[in-house]
C-alpha cells in the first residue's frame, strides 16, 4: 500500500478509536453532574454513592479519551502535512481555540474533582464536574467547527498558494457545523444513557442496590429518550444540510442514481456501483426522499450518475452505514421510551426480559455513533475539504510507506491493548457496584461545611 492509503487507514483507526471514548465522556459527565447536584441539594448519601460509582466508570473512560485525543492533533501534521499547510490558516484556529477555551478547563477541573473531595466544599466540588461537562461539550463544538469547515468550507479566499481565512464569523456560525455538533453531542448523551441503563439493568436483575440503580436508570431513561428523539430531529436537519452542500454524499446515502424531481424513498435497496444502478429496490414511498432532503415534495434530487466517477464517495459502505445507523436510532428511541414508561410506572424491577435486553443494548449505541462518523467522513470522499481539496493531495510528501506501516502497526498494538484494559476495567468496576464506605468523604465535607 502507498503512503496515502496507509495514512487514511491510520486516521480512520485512530479517529474511530478516539470516538469510542468521547461520546461516553460527553454524556456521562452531564449525568454525573446531575447526580452530584442532587446530592448537594438533598444531602441524601445515595446520590453521593451514585456519583462515586458512575464517576469511577467515567474516569476510566475519560483518560483514554484524553490520551487518544493528542494523537488526533499530532496526526494532521505528521501524516497530512500538505493539508495542514494548505488550510492551516483557517483550520488551525479552531483547534488552537479548542485547547485554550475547552481542554484547559476540562483537564484542570477533572484533577480538582478527582482529588478535591477533601479539599473544597461540596458546592465547589459539584461545580467542578459541571465545568468538566461544559468544557467537554465546548471542545466538541470547536472540533466540529473545524470538521464542519472541511464539510462545508466557508469564509476563506484562495491566495498565496493556500486557503486563507477571510471571515472568522462565517467559520464560527457555519450552520453545517452547528447541526453536526448538535447531532454528535446528542448521540453522545444517548450512548451514555444506554451505558447507564445497561449497567443499572445488570444490578437490578440481581436485586442489588435497587434504589440506587432504579434511580440511575430512570434518570438515564429520561435523558436518553430526550437525546434519542433530538438525535433523530438533528439528523433530519443534517440531511437538509448535506442535500444543500454535499449532493454527492446525499445521493450515496440513499444509493440514488438517476436525477429526478419528486424523488421517492425506497425502503429496501442493494446498490450495484459497477453498473451504476441498484440491484434491488423494494417498497417505494413517493416523494419521500425529496421531502426528507429538501422539505419539499417536488424538489429535484441529483443522482450519482450526474457526478463523474472520481467525484463520488464509495456508495456501498456509505449507504449501508447510513441505513444501519438510522435503524439503530429508531430502535434506541423505542427502547428508551419503554424504559421511561416502565420507570415512571415503577415497573423496572419486574421486567427482567426488558432489563436483559437493555444490558445487551450497550454495544448498539456504540455501533450507531461509529457508523455516524463513517457516513460523515467516508461520504465526504474523495474530498478532504469538500469541493476544494482532494484527500490524495493532502498527504505528507516526506513520508515513506515503511514509516506509516510501522506507525500503523504501533497504533494497532497499543490501541488494542488499551481497548482490552478499558473493557476489563469497565466490566470489573461496573460489576463491583458502589462502595459502602464513604465515611472519609462525609467526615471531611462536614468539617468543611462547619
Amino acid at each position: 500500500m502507498d503512503v496515502l492509503s496507509l495514512s487514511r487507514l491510520q486516521f480512520a483507526v485512530t479517529a474511530a478509536f478516539h470516538f469510542i471514548f468521547v461520546p461516553l465522556t460527553l454524556g456521562l459527565s452531564l449525568l454525573v453532574a446531575f447526580m452530584e447536584t442532587r446530592y448537594v441539594q438533598t444531602g441524601d448519601t445515595m446520590y453521593l454513592r451514585m456519583t462515586q460509582f458512575w464517576g469511577r466508570l467515567f474516569l476510566i473512560n475519560f483518560v483514554l479519551g484524553v490520551v487518544t485525543g493528542i494523537t488526533m492533533e499530532f496526526q494532521f501534521g505528521m501524516n497530512w502535512a500538505e493539508y495542514s499547510r494548505y488550510v492551516g490558516d483557517i483550520f488551525g484556529a479552531p483547534l488552537a481555540i479548542e485547547a485554550t477555551a475547552a481542554f484547559f478547563l476540562e483537564s484542570t477541573f477533572i484533577g480538582l474533582w478527582v482529588f478535591g473531595w477533601n479539599r473544597v466544599s461540596k458546592k465547589v466540588h459539584a461545580m467542578s464536574i459541571w465545568l468538566v461537562a461544559i468544557a467537554t461539550n465546548l471542545s466538541a463544538l470547536w472540533i466540529l467547527l473545524a470538521n464542519g469547515w472541511m464539510q462545508r468550507p466557508v469564509g476563506f479566499a484562495l491566495r498565496n498558494g493556500r486557503a486563507e481565512m477571510t471571515d472568522f464569523g462565517a467559520l464560527v456560525f457555519n450552520r453545517f457545523a452547528w447541526v453536526t455538533f448538535a447531532h454528535t453531542v446528542l448521540s453522545g448523551y444517548v450512548l451514555a444513557a444506554f451505558f447507564v441503563m445497561g449497567v443499572s439493568a445488570y444490578h437490578l436483575l440481581r436485586n442489588a442496590e435497587v434504589p440506587l440503580f432504579r434511580s440511575s436508570f430512570r434518570m438515564a431513561a429520561a435523558f436518553g429518550l430526550m437525546g434519542a428523539i433530538l438525535v433523530a430531529g438533528t439528523g433530519d436537519l443534517s440531511a437538509v444540510q448535506v442535500a444543500k452542500y454535499q449532493p454527492a454524499k446525499l445521493a450515496a446515502l440513499e444509493s440514488f442514481w438517476e436525477t429526478r424531481s419528486a424523488a421517492p424513498f425506497t425502503l429496501f435497496v442493494w446498490p450495484d456501483s459497477r453498473n451504476e444502478r441498484n440491484a434491488l429496490e423494494l417498497l417505494r414511498i413517493p416523494k419521500a426522499l425529496s421531502l426528507m432532503a429538501f422539505h419539499e415534495g417536488d424538489a429535484e434530487v441529483k443522482g450519482l450518475r450526474d457526478f463523474p466517477r472520481d467525484k463520488r464517495p464509495p456508495v456501498l459502505p456509505v449507504f449501508l452505514s447510513f441505513r444501519l445507523m438510522v435503524g439503530l436510532c429508531l430502535l434506541l428511541i423505542l427502547l428508551a421510551l419503554i424504559g421511561f414508561i416502565k420507570g415512571v410506572r415503577g415497573r423496572l424491577e419486574r421486567s427482567p426480559g426488558y432489563l436483559r435486553i437493555m444490558l445487551w443494548s450497550i454495544p448498539l449505541s456504540y455501533i450507531a455513533v461509529q457508523l455516524g462518523w463513517l457516513v460523515t467522513e467516508m461520504g465526504r470522499q474523495p474530498w478532504i475539504v469538500y469541493g476544494l481539496m482532494r484527500t490524495s493531495d493532502g498527504v505528507s510528501p516526506s513520508l515513506r510507506p515503511s514509516q506509516v506501516v510501522a506507525s500503523l502497526i504501533g497504533f494497532t498494538l497499543v490501541y488494542g491493548l488499551l481497548a482490552a484494559v478499558d473493557i476489563y476495567l469497565l466490566v470489573k468496576y461496573s460489576k463491583r457496584g458502589p462502595d459502602d464506605d464513604l465515611s472519609g468523604i462525609l467526615k471531611s465535607s462536614r468539617a468543611k461545611e462547619a
Binding site: 501534521g77 502535512a81 485554550t100 484547559f104 480538582l112 516526506s398
Partner: protein, 341 residues
C-alpha cells in the same frame, strides 16, 4: 512589533510553560522507581502529580495547536519531518496518562509492575525525546526546497543527544523538588538527597550545553547582534545556581521557583537565538522556515491574538487557583480515606 513576532514569543512561551509544568511530572515519573521504595511512597509520588498532570499536558496540546494556527507551514513540516520521534512521544504520553489512572485499579503484582514500568518509560522517553527534538531544531534540520534529507539516525547527533541529557537532568531536579514539596517523611528526605546529588550534574550539563551551542548552532548570532539579550542565558545560570543555594538552605519552595525559572530561561535562550527562524535549515539557510514565511495571514493572527488575550488570563487564573488548593502536603490519613490513586 509585527504580529508574527508576537506569536513567535507566544509560541516560545507555550513551550517554556509546558516544560516548566509537565517537566516536574516527567521528573517525578523518572524518579518513581528509585524514590518509591514502598507501596505508600509510590502512591504518594503518583498523588503528588495526580491532580495536575492532565492540566499540565494541555500546554503541549495548546503549543501544538498554536503552531498549527499561527505557523501552519512550520507545523506541517516539523511534525512530518519528526514523524518517528513524535510517534514515540505520543505512545509514551499515552502510557504515562493511562498508567497514572489505571495502576491503582488492579490488585495483582504483575498489573502494578507493568503500569509502574509504563509510568517510568512514559515519563523518561518524552523528556529525552523532547530534548533531542529541540536540540535538532536549535541546530537546524536537513531540508531544502526539494524536501527533507534526514533520517531517524541523523536526529541522534551528539549535540541533540546532549540536549536530551540536559532535559532529563532539568526535569529530574525539578521533579525531585516537586516531590519534596508534596510529600513527607522518608520520601521527602530521599527527594532532598536526590536534588543535592543531581544538581551538580545538571549544572555541568547546562554549562556544557551553553558552550557547545556556539559551535553547534547559529543561535549565538542573535546574541552578538543584540548583546542585551544575553540577560536571558545569564538569568538561566543565576536561577540554576539559586536552586543549589536554596536547597542547601532548606528552602524547597524557593528552590522549586528557581527551578521553574531555570527551565523557562533555558528554553528562551534557545528561542531568542532562533528568531526569526522557527525551524532553520542546515542545508540551505534560504529554505529555513521563519516567522515571516511560515506564518498565517495577518487576519488569522489578529483573531488568534484576541482569543489568546481573552482566554489565557482566565486559564492561568484557574490553574493557579487549583495549584493553590493542592499546595499543602497530602497527609497519610487523608490519602488512605478518599484517594483514587
Amino acid at each position: 512589533m509585527a504580529l508574527q513576532t508576537v506569536w513567535f514569543a507566544l509560541w516560545g512561551l507555550l513551550w517554556a510553560v509546558y516544560f516548566m509544568l509537565d517537566g516536574f511530572d516527567f521528573g517525578a515519573g523518572i524518579l518513581y522507581p528509585f524514590l518509591g521504595r514502598s507501596e505508600e511512597d509510590k502512591s504518594a509520588i503518583r498523588r503528588a502529580i495526580g491532580p495536575v498532570w492532565d492540566g499540565n499536558e494541555v500546554w503541549l496540546i495548546t503549543a501544538g495547536g498554536a503552531t498549527f494556527a499561527a505557523f501552519p507551514s512550520a507545523y506541517a513540516l516539523m511534525f512530518s519531518y519528526l514523524y518517528c520521534a513524535l510517534l514515540v512521544i505520543l505512545f509514551a504520553l499515552i502510557f504515562r496518562g493511562v498508567a497514572l489512572e489505571f495502576r491503582a485499579k488492579g490488585t495483582s503484582a504483575a498489573w502494578r509492575r507493568n503500569w509502574d514500568v509504563a509510568f517510568f518509560l512514559g515519563s523518561l522517553l518524552p523528556a529525552v525525546l523532547f530534548g533531542i527534538a529541540f536540540g535538532n531544531i536549535f541546530r537546524g534540520l536537513p531540508f531544502d526546497s526539494f524536501g527533507y534529507h534526514g533520517t531517524l539516525i541523523s536526529l541522534l547527533n551528539p549535540y541533540a543527544l546532549w540536549t536530551g541529557v540536559l532535559f532529563v537532568l532539568l526535569f529530574l531536579v525539578h521533579g525531585a523538588l516537586w516531590i519534596l514539596l508534596q510529600t513527607s517523611g522518608g520520601l521527602e528526605e530521599r527527594a532532598l538527597r536526590a536534588v543535592r546529588s543531581y544538581w551538580p550534574f545538571l549544572f555541568a550539563a547546562a554549562v556544557v550545553f551553553l558552550v557547545w551551542t556556539v559551535p553547534a548552532t547559529t543561535l549565538e548570532e542573535n546574541y552578538f547582534l543584540h548583546p542585551y539579550w544575553l540577560i536571558v542565558p545569564l538569568l538561566a545560570v543565576i536561577s540554576l545556581i539559586s536552586i543549589g543555594i536554596w536547597v542547601a538552605q532548606r528552602k524547597p519552595r524557593s528552590a522549586f521557583f528557581a527551578s521553574c525559572c531555570t527551565i523557562f530561561f533555558v528554553i528562551f535562550t534557545g528561542i531568542i537565538g532562533l528568531y526569526p527562524d522557527l525551524i532553520p535549515s542546515r542545508l540551505d539557510p534560504a529554505s529555513s522556515l521563519t516567522v515571516f514565511n511560515a506564518s498565517s495571514s495577518p487576519y488569522t493572527l489578529k483573531i488568534m491574538t484576541v482569543v489568546a488575550l481573552a482566554f489565557m488570563p482566565v486559564v492561568i487564573g484557574y490553574q493557579v487557583w487549583v495549584y493553590r488548593v493542592f499546595r499543602h502536603k497530602t497527609e497519610q490519613r487523608e490519602a488512605s480515606e478518599a484517594s483514587p490513586y
